[in-house]
Amino acid sequence: MSPRRRESDAVALLQGTLDLLILRTLLFGPQHGQGIARSIEQQADDTLLVDHGSLYPALQRLEARGWIEAEWGTSDNNRRARFYTLTKRGRKQLVAETRQWRRLAAAIGRILGPEEA
């Protein structure tokens, strides 16, 4: 997958959804920044484009709010990386935000009507 391809097919992330996706990704266990980005892209079948640059301010923000915690550790291929873990409060936040997002998506879906071919 080349960066070129990403620019043509992928959809830029909606404002504010990155936080939700990060929290969701961390639900499966500690992960470092690059891993989070990769994981989001893979799970979305490369449809979503994560701007790696804006990932870090987002992580910083979530950490400041106490939703995630960070610690330096070693990655699978023996590299030093900063691993993020979901906190108890982050878990609660994830539940709340997920519910909200589902309701929003459902509402917008209803308005837009059935998908046209």
């Binding site: 470092h32 790696h52 870090y56 400041a64 590299r79 990386a81 906190t87």
Partner: protein, 881 residues
């Protein structure tokens, strides 16, 4: 997460590097060459710098760093414009020093607690009865409080008296033995008084000096301990010197402390005998486990008997918090707030001036600000930077203001003492007025508030620029900024006019009061009053003085004129209630004070001896009570307070309420003469309906004397030495000339005039410089226009008129507003101050203030007008705007 340390920028960069490395490795695994993978990873990441910047800005310390940056920038900027800084700092410092002085005084008297251990647990014990109350107790009452160990950690007693020491009057606190032990005040030298110093009456002749006495009277002699001090002819030994911060438990500092047991030895009453006088002030330290309400409740259950209005009455003790020398009551605040307001107004005027200068500076800097805006600085950031500059100036001003305030305080204390009559001035003591952390904090607070007042508007104004305007060098806000400056000048003119009106009113009243006809001759008259309630003392003093060859004449009175409000009573008349006052005088009184008897006669020697029921009434009294009728031979019932006991305010009020005949003190007198009007109480209230009743030296009403020497200028000192023959203790008599008493009465007005004049001169100077600044600025902007006008034929005179018109227009709104505000202020004050001899709404004062303001405006416009008249049109037209 609370103890999470702030992440460093390095830590963050490392994370990003790790990210890029991980991404590159992934791409290599997918088959890319390492270089291409690295480049791709970088590309996907986007701008590392931008990410780092966003991280950097997310840290909360950013504002602090920016503040430091701004501060550094401001310092550089200010160093470049020294003249601007100096003038602004000076202007603001003047305003700030004034409010700081007011605060320092307030702080010393009301906010700063006594320099003792845990001052907030101290309560003064007072007593309250139905219609009377007091703050002094007998020794046995004190013992009663002392036994309440269940409520108090300690109870102390003190009685304050004046004693003489080598011709010097000193205020001595006679204190119970446990006084210093209970208070825990710091000692500078030696030790303080201990219970062992008060074993039995006259037991231990020890004395403790205040720091002020030690330095002023004993030149800070390091070998003072053990030295002899002579008080009222008795020898006492110095055992210690208190630290400077402790001066006693009220707002009148003590010079010395001695054991309570020494009080009688130094000529005081016997406190411990069978007839215990009510003279002890009691202060208690509440136990930590007892609330004030609990203590109060417990004291309420235990009333004690005391004499109220001549009868035994059960009274209750009350506790009042006593942590500071004074308390600001609501009434006190109401009286003082106009004074505070005047000081704050001057600060506002100073801020307006500074604001004006800042505006001009901001306009001069619009190109710089424009460039900063255009290369991406946001408006908030620039406003913050300008405010930082303002704060720096304000802080410098606050520092200068503190120094100036210290100077002003000294000057004020000096003037205070100088304006008082010398005999009184010797008795004046101030609580320590030095600056503590509260004053510094206040100065800082003022600086912050001032910053908002003088720097915020100019900052908002300066940054309201469009880029194109800014780069063209043409501030679009120029027009609006000149409106703003006119508003500031208007405000200044208003403030100074209001202050001027107040000051001129005070000064004019002051001069009017000085020339008020008292109705009698104070010249060379010396008053002698006694501090003991002892008629025999008056008689002895009378005999000594009358027999002295240096004394011309001595008269006897129950109270001397000008010494406060004379006792009075209400008189029911058909048209309402008239307040009458009275005094008992010996027959020579009228001739002595040169008060003419206009009708009827004075008193005979017989009447004086018998204190007969006859009266001489003042002329205004006669016309108020018997209008159009001959008062001679008329009888009238007067309520006179019983001999030997002064009524308390509460008792007087009680008597005043039952008008006329029911009073138990009523006597019927026959009018035998009418004397011309004379001021008996306060010079401000003028002459009242006064009744003179007869007495003589051995009469029951004799309480005070007035003497005039045979040679002119016989001094208070010589009278004092004569009185030593009547009583060995010179402090039992109060000797003061009537002229000094008059000076004392006019003192508040003179002090107020001085302060008012001082404030209004400063405000006037501020508005002159403010107006001058605006005119110079406006016409520097209009030079081109004026050049064209002159080229088209306008004369220099016409141009000068243009400037004067402009300045008159600027000032006229302020003047109108000032007159209006001044009038409403005076109107309000006239409802509060209703004194016969004081005219609050004084048209003359308004006229004088108006003329002064007009002169100030003319003075401010003179320079700019001359400069405008000298503009050379040809050079102006050539110059490129």
């Amino acid at each position: 997460m609370w103890k999470r340390r702030r992440r460093t920028v390095d830590d963050f960069s490392e994370e990003i590097q790790a990210h890029i490395a991980l991404e590159a490795e992934r791409l290599v695994e997918q088959g890319m060459s390492p270089e291409a993978a690295r480049a791709a990873a970088h590309r996907t990441f986007g701008s590392v710098t931008r990410t780092r910047e966003r991280f950097y800005e997310s840290r909360r310390a950013i504002w602090l760093q920016q503040f430091v940056q701004d501060l550094r920038y401001a310092l550089r900027g200010l160093r470049r414009s020294r003249a601007f800084v100096a003038s602004t700092v000076l202007t603001l410092a003047v305003g700030m020093s004034l409010v700081t002085v007011v605060f320092a005084i307030l702080n010393a008297y009301i906010l700063r607690p006594f320099a003792v251990h845990d001052p907030y647990s101290l309560y003064s014990v007072v007593w309250r009865a139905q219609e009377a109350g007091g703050s002094t107790f007998r020794w046995k009452d004190y013992q009663q409080f002392l036994s309440r160990g269940d409520l108090f950690d300690g109870v102390i007693a003190e009685t304050v008296r004046r004693v003489t020491s080598d011709g010097r009057q000193l205020s001595v606190g006679f204190v119970s033995g446990n006084y210093f032990e209970t208070l825990g005040a710091r000692v500078a030298l030696g030790r303080s008084l201990a219970p062992a110093d008060a074993p039995s009456p006259g037991g231990a002749p020890t004395v403790l000096l205040s720091h002020r006495t030690w330095t002023r009277v004993f030149d800070a002699d390091p070998a003072i301990l053990g030295r002899e001090v002579h008080l009222n002819g008795q020898k006492l030994f110095v055992i210690g010197v208190m630290a400077p911060e402790f001066v006693g438990l009220d707002d009148l500092p003590r010079d010395l402390w001695a054991p309570l047991t020494m009080s009688a030895v130094l000529g005081g009453d016997d406190l411990f005998g069978t007839k215990q006088p009510r003279s002890l002030r009691v202060t208690a330290r509440l136990r930590r486990d007892v609330t004030p309400a609990q203590a109060q409740g417990s004291l309420n259950l235990e009333p004690f008997e005391t004499k109220v209005a001549g009868q035994l009455d059960a009274v209750r003790a009350r506790l009042e918090q006593k942590a500071t020398p004074g308390r600001l009551s609501r009434e006190g605040l109401a009286v003082l707030s106009p004074v505070f307001a005047a000081f704050v107004l001057v600060l506002l005027a100073a801020c307006a001036n500074a604001s004006n200068v800042m505006l001009a500076r901001a306009n001069a800097r619009h190109r710089e600000i424009g460039i900063r805006l255009s290369i991406g600085a946001n408006r908030g950031r620039i406003i913050r930077q300008l405010l930082t500059e303002g704060l720096l100036i304000a802080m410098l001003s606050a520092l200068a203001g503190l120094a100036l305030a210290a100077l002003l305080l000294r000057l004020g204390m000096f003037l205070f003492v100088v304006l008082l009559p010398p005999t009184i001035a010797l008795r004046v003591r101030f609580v320590p007025l030095d600056f503590d952390y509260r004053v510094f904090a206040f100065a800082c607070g003022v600086a912050c508030v001032a910053t908002v007042m003088f720097a915020l508007l100019p900052a908002l104004q300066a940054t309201r620029l469009t880029l194109t305007d800014a780069l063209r060098g043409q501030p679009s806000g120029a027009l609006r900024s000149s409106t703003l400056r006119s508003i500031l000048v208007t405000g200044q003119v208003t403030v100074s006019l209001v202050l001027l009106i107040v000051a001129v009113t005070l000064v004019r009243n002051g001069t009017a009061i000085q020339s008020t006809n008292l109705g009698f001759d104070t010249h060379d008259v010396i008053s002698v009053r006694q501090f003991r309630d002892d008629p025999a003392l008056v008689e002895r003093a009378y005999r000594e003085l009358v027999s002295d060859p240096l004394i011309d004449r001595v008269v006897v009175t129950s109270r001397n004129p000008l010494f406060g409000e004379p006792p009075g009573f209400p008189l029911q008349r058909p048209h309402g209630i008239v307040r009458g006052t009275y005094s008992f005088v010996s027959p020579e009184y009228f001739a002595f004070l040169r008060i003419p008897i206009v009708h009827g006669r004075g008193f005979s020697a017989d009447e004086a001896r018998q204190e007969s029921a006859v009266a001489v009434v003042s002329a205004s009294g006669a016309s108020a009570l018997w209008p159009g009728d001959d008062p001679i031979g008329k009888t009238i019932r007067l309520n006179i307070e019983p001999r030997g006991r002064r009524l308390t305010v509460a008792e007087t009020m009680h008597e005043l309420r039952k008008v006329g005949d029911e009073s138990k003190y009523a006597i019927v007198v026959t009018v035998v003469g009418v004397a011309s009007d004379a001021v008996n109480g306060f010079i401000y209230t003028g002459a009242e309906s006064h009744f003179y009743l007869p007495t003589s030296a051995n009469g029951s009403r004799a309480d005070a004397l007035m003497v005039r020497g045979r040679t002119a200028g016989s001094s208070v000192e010589s009278i004092k030495s004569m009185l030593l023959r009547a009583h060995a203790d010179p402090t039992v008599f109060d000797v003061l000339s009537l002229d000094e008493m008059l000076t004392l009465q006019t003192f508040p007005l003179r002090a107020a005039s001085l302060i008012g004049t001082f404030l209004s001169v400063i405000a006037l100077a501020l508005s002159i410089s403010g107006l001058y600044g605006v005119l110079v600025y406006t016409f520097s902007q209009r030079t081109q226009e004026i050049g064209i006008r002159m080229a088209l034929g306008a004369s220099a005179g016409a141009v000068r008129r243009l400037v004067f018109t402009q300045s008159a227009r600027l000032a006229s709104a302020g003047t109108a507003l000032g007159l209006l505000v001044g009038f409403s202020v005076m109107k309000f004050l006239s409802t509060v101050i209703t004194l016969e001899n004081v005219s609050v709404i004084d048209p003359g004062a308004f006229a004088v203030s108006f003329v002064l303001i007009a002169a100030a405006v003319a003075l401010a416009s003179y320079g700019p007008a001359r400069r405008a008249g000298r503009i050379d049109p040809s050079s102006m037209l050539r110059a490129d705007g």
